[in-house]
Subunit: 145 residues, 2 copies
Amino acid sequence: MKVFLKSDINMRVKAFNENNLETVYDSPIAGGGESSATSPMEAMLQTLGACSYMDMISILRKKRKTISDFNMEIDAKRAEEHPKVFTEVFIKISVISPDATLEDIKKAAELSYNKYCSVAAMFKASGCRLDYSCEIISPSEIITK
Amino acid sequence: MKVFLKSDINMRVKAFNENNLETVYDSPIAGGGESSATSPMEAMLQTLGACSYMDMISILRKKRKTISDFNMEIDAKRAEEHPKVFTEVFIKISVISPDATLEDIKKAAELSYNKYCSVAAMFKASGCRLDYSCEIISPSEIITK
C-alpha cells in the first residue's frame, strides 16, 4: 500500500492514495496551523471508527440485517508527555435497525475489535486501552421520541 | 479529543471533528465498498505522514529555513493474517529548500520519529518497523534538470 503527501499552505498538507483521491489534514491553531481541516490525531481516531464500522456493516449484512443508520462517537485521552500517544479510547456505537438485535451489534463489535479491525489491533498493541458500548434503536422508537 | 462518524451510502462513512469539519472514508471495492474515498488503512498511513510533516515543518521554521516544497511517499506492508496490521513502513521525504541542508532535514525527521510524532510512536509501539530516507533539492537544481 502506498500513500503520498504534498505540502499545502502553512501546516496544511494534501494526501493522496494510489487512486489519487485526496484527503486534507491541518494542524490545530495551538500547533501552529489554522484548524482548516481534520488534524492527523483526529483522523487517526476516525480511522479506528471507520475501519471497525466497515467490519460491522459487513458482518451485519451477512446476517441479512437492515441498517437504517449507524453512528459512532469516539472519545480519547492522550498522554500528557511527548509523544502524546492515545492512552484510552471509548467508542459509543448507536445503530438504528428494524431487525437487528442488541446481541447482533455486540457480536459484530466484538468480532471487529478482537479479530478483524487492523486499526484497533494496532491501537491495542501500542498499549492503548480500548472500550466500547453498543446501543440499538428501532425506527418505531424514534418516531415516538 | 472527540470525533464522530455517521453512515453514508454502502460502506462509505462520514467523519467529523469537534469543529464539524468532514472527512470521508470508503472501503476498497475488494472489501465491499466502492473505493470512492481514501480507505481507513490508507488514511491511517497518511496520518503518520501528516503528523510527522507538521513536526518537521515546525522544527525547520524554528531554524528559519525556507521550505518551498515538501513531499512524502509512504510505502507499507501489512500482515497476511487478520487483523492485517502494518508490519513495515518506509517514508521517503523529499524537501525543496534554498537554504536547508540535508542535515537539517535529517535532524527534523529524527526528532519527529523518535520524540514528537504521536502516530509514529503508536506505530512503533504496536510492533511495526518504521524507516525513512531524506532528500534535499535546491531550487536551482530543479531549474537545471
